[in-house]
Symmetry: C2
Subunit: 299 residues, 2 copies
């Protein structure tokens, strides 16, 4: 949970709430409640945001508020393609002290989503779960592959589903072909691998199986910040709601995640996620059905 | 119909048969025969290739053989990503004299596929058809947008389906968003637009409708030369076989084209296309069904 400053070729905002856990919670709370949030913020983090999350069934006992310190701050500028970006500022602030402590009330959680963060911290959360969750999903990024590969490798051994983007999958596996990359990565621990390709959709791999979900072709991407986390939140939210960790159900989870991400990019930060209803989500999922559905009888 | 010399990071071939019309014919002949080929070659073009095409129901009366001249020759080198390439040599040779003449026997053709070529020549073929075909599909490329935009604009007014890749769609429309690009291009004439995105699949646009077909995730792309033409051949072949020009059937046509293209890239030039059977094609189409199929009931 953090603050972001975002610049796109079309608009700019100096401060908006962000952070993986924020996006995951907003997305997942449409499908499952309660959500047990683990994070750390400074005294600057707005109470209204906490209240909004609480109102959506997001428990905040595991969110540490550090007095007289600032929340994590990231600032970035998107290029014309809205796909690549430059990081302008990263102020770790409270993240420097983050030593997650799981409240006793969190031990019931059956599904664990580890947002992108130092793998040491991800590991600490896993280790504190007395009963192994039914499914552990993990996001990470290239930074940790370069700065903390040994720690990352240890966490990878313990998770069920890894989510990375295409260039990260290539970096982690040293393979250019995503099919070959998936095979290598699944040897490192995760039995399922989701490769996010931004505007080109997402791939789900499991053993010899593969599933592809497109991204919705959009007229405009206003702000892609948080789209990957929102995707993750929709995915784990759907899995938790249906309580079904089969490959078949993960396919549907990816469509749900893609639908949520397609809303996320319509406004700055998580703003759009706060507005949408279950009916909006259903209608967008129907668009995905139309987008990929074809009549095999005709072939 | 031409010769190519192809270099990839992994292999090299100094001469192999190529050309849009060759790939289109090999792909389409799996679905519909006869095919009425219009092209021009030199006296160096191999008789065995002509015989192979004839054996697949490809009529060659409209293929002019120019004595003592050489066939069109293209040579290119693919980059590591197998997506981008440098052209090393373009020898127009007989193409300089190409003035297509449609034999009387070709007038029955109900479906017209215009391979990528000078729009002036594409126009000449359209104008020679006494009865307007049920569907005119056209491929083109960025070169003609730069060198012959006025001629291209005239042809666009007369065709039903345009096929271009994503960067060409952006160039032709001056729009970055592919959804906006599609809207602009459909104002130029084509009622249907297919945007090919290589390893990222293909989009079909028609009015407010959109369909997305993924490319099959492959372990290896051996040689992408001709994949786009093979896609076109599979598409028009399916449409001709089913004699159905609805949007719904075009979706299936795109899956068929994608399946054919996924075979094309497995060997140099059209080699792989010559080997595969109808059973091979069916099995690959089934892979596309598995790749994108999800259970909407679960959502």
């Amino acid at each position: 949970m953090a603050f972001d400053a975002i610049e796109t070729p079309f608009a700019k905002i100096n401060q908006i709430v962000g952070g993986s856990a924020t996006y995951v919670a907003y997305a997942a709370s449409n499908f499952t409640q309660p959500i047990y949030q683990v994070s750390i913020v400074g005294s600057d983090f707005p109470q209204e945001e906490m209240d909004e999350l609480s109102g959506r069934g997001v428990h905040l006992e595991g969110v540490k508020i550090v007095p007289n310190k600032k929340s994590f701050f990231w600032s970035g500028r998107y290029h014309m393609d809205m796909n690549s970006r430059d990081t302008l500022v990263t102020d770790l602030n409270v993240l420097l002290d983050f030593d997650p402590e799981l409240p006793e009330s969190y031990q019931d959680a059956e599904y664990l989503m580890l947002g992108n963060l130092d793998p040491k911290i991800q590991m600490k959360v896993i280790k504190q779960m007395k009963k192994r969750p039914k499914l552990i999903v993990m996001d990470t990024m290239n930074f940790w592959m370069e700065a903390a590969m040994d720690d990352l490798a240890e966490v990878l051994k313990l998770v069920d589903v890894l989510m990375v983007n295409d260039s990260e999958a290539r970096q982690l596996s040293s393979q250019f072909s995503l099919v070959k990359a998936a095979k290598e990565i699944m040897k490192m621990g995760p039995k399922y691998l989701i490769i996010k390709k931004g505007e080109h959709g997402a791939l789900l791999f499991h053993k010899e199986q593969v599933f592809f979900a497109p991204a919705l072709p959009l007229e405009e991407v206003f702000d892609p910040t948080g789209a990957g986390d929102t995707f993750a939140g929709g995915f784990i939210g759907h899995i938790a709601r249906t309580n079904d960790i089969s490959f078949e159900n993960m396919k549907t989870g990816i469509i749900v995640g893609s639908a949520m991400a397609s809303y996320c990019v319509e406004k700055f930060g998580p703003e759009r996620l706060k507005e949408i209803s279950r009916a909006d989500i259903d209608s967008r999922i129907q668009q995905f059905v139309s987008l990929v559905n074809f009549d095999i009888e005709l072939v």
